[in-house]
């Protein structure tokens, strides 16, 4: 029996275990009559999202629904962009420290005792501890960071941005480091051969070579940041999630779809944007 079949059997077997462990039977997956009614009421509004509020009484000075959706989308973008700016800065710094290209395997590097000590022990130590830090940052979900920061600092916009920025910074650092380490060495070797300093080799030879991949990946993470930023609305921040939860709990399903389509639009625009960039880089 080939490895393929073994692997598929293992996957299906674990799936079966999971369903049994959660006591998920087909009956569990079909809603009861009350749930079916909610499902019908909700999904039937998918093709007729609301353009005005569905509440019976709307105070005269309330912002119109469509404008409110635009504002919420704007806040979602602002939180995502602020978080990404922090994540990019920390990702670049930590990504540099977590790459091996700046210290390992440089035969032309310095031969003096200090330089050898630096390369053999200090650099690997910095590299190792950065890796541990990055892993810790990544392993805790942004919503859990938000819970921790809320408990530590209270509800502020800065907590939300930092909560997204920590795991995203860790992820960016990990991916950036791998991209720099795996970038083609042609340019770097040419620079080194013509006598460039290590910093020049690294920045002009390696980072520039990895740049298109890094930019594309950063865009993808921006798309993820938009989703996370929308979700933080569930914690009381004025992003799309807040209004989705509020409208859903008031049974205003048309409004929910308006906000959902707004989020869909945001994510799709960024997705299209990064796709277009990727095409330009590939050409």
């Amino acid at each position: 029996m080939g490895l393929r079949r073994v692997l598929i059997l293992i996957i299906l077997g674990s799936g079966l275990w999971a369903f049994l462990h959660l006591e998920l039977t087909p009956a569990n997956l079909i809603p009861n009559s009350g749930g079916l009614q909610v499902a019908w009421n909700f999904f039937s509004r998918a093709f007729s999202p609301a353009l005005t509020y569905e509440a019976a009484f709307v105070p005269a000075e309330t912002t119109p629904l469509v404008w409110k959706a635009v504002q919420a989308a704007g806040m979602t973008v602002i939180f995502a962009a602020a978080a990404m700016s922090l994540a990019l800065v920390s990702g670049l710094i930590l990504g540099f420290l977590a790459s091996t290209a700046w210290w390992a395997g440089d035969p032309a590097g310095g031969r003096s005792t200090t330089q050898v000590v630096l390369r053999r022990s200090v650099a690997p130590f910095i590299y190792g501890s950065t890796r541990v830090l990055i892993t810790l940052m990544r392993s805790i979900h942004e919503l859990l960071w938000a819970v921790l920061l809320l408990a530590a600092f209270g509800l502020s916009h800065l907590s939300a941005a930092v909560a997204i920025a920590i795991p995203f910074g860790g992820t960016l650092a990990k991916i950036f480091a791998e991209m720099i380490d795996e970038a083609p060495r042609d340019v770097a070797n040419a620079y080194r051969g013509s006598g460039a300093s290590p910093a020049q080799v690294y920045l002009l030879g390696l980072v520039t070579r990895a740049m298109p991949d890094m930019i594309t990946y950063a865009f993808y993470r921006f798309e993820c940041a938009l989703r996370s930023s929308a979700i933080l609305g569930f914690f009381g921040y004025p992003t799309l999630g807040f209004f989705i939860a509020a409208s859903f709990e008031n049974l205003h399903y048309g409004e929910v779809w308006t906000y959902l389509y707004t989020l869909f639009f945001l994510v799709t625009v960024v997705d299209w944007w990064s796709g277009a960039l990727r095409k330009r880089f590939a050409a």
Binding site: L29, H141, L143, A151
Partner: protein
Amino acid sequence: MNSAEVEVQKLYDQRSRNHFVIWSGVLLLTLMTGSWFIGDFHLDDFFSERHLVNLGRFLNELVPFSLQGRPFSLTETLGWAGRLFWEKGLAATGVTLAISVAAIVLAGSLGALFSLPAARNFMAPDPFIASLSESRQGWGLLWTAAMWGTRAFLIFARAIPEYLWAFLFLTILGPTAAPAVLALGLHNLGILGKLGAEVVENTEGSGLSALRGLGASRLQISLAGLFPLAYSRFLLFFFYRWETCVREATVLGMLGIVSLGYWIQDARARNHYDEMFFLVLLGAFLVLAGDLLSAFAREMVRRYS
């Protein structure tokens, strides 16, 4: 200027400039700096005296309750951690893991199915035969329409975050694990369906066109040709998405499904920050274990298939 400098200047003038890339960069930078000015972010919210006192109190409360105000003792700490782990941690970890596995198996099997009607070459009037695929009439039009329909569904499924799907399904299905599994499954179906479609589109065509030339149906081509060719690349994506499923399954508990997130939220509501912190770390450990297992599995797939 000597001739070398002229040459360099000429090369500099000929450098490739792409306005779309440049303006994208400018726009993104403006967005990122601008957000700090209009988003109500204040450093005071972290570093004012009141907040620093708060922070100090919070950090103190991370120390296990039975040890607060007393000298540190390893046995006491380990006992405390052990009790928490056996009482809540273990069961919650099991549920978290089960949710992630159930969701990814659901998303993987459906995603493999959906990647076919989302792939351009599969849905062409004459699948995998490029030269004959120009005609866009009758049945061909219908195949194309079905492809765009599938794609639209997949895009929407992945644009809405798992947490949001779970919130919506919770009302419909009630507080079992089902909404979490369905939410994670739906979002990842959107992603795996798209990635799978790309795998199908990038699969080397000669063998497949030969099958088509011999008169094989779409079903026969996918079973005999596509599946063996695309299998390992699809599995790489499958394991990569499973990692994120573990991460998300932890957090979905905050909606009331008894995974780790539920107990984290519960400890926070009771102001038991030591317990909350322990469970967050346990979640981080689970995510880490998942990453390692997934990396191992992907390495196996790469090496042996």
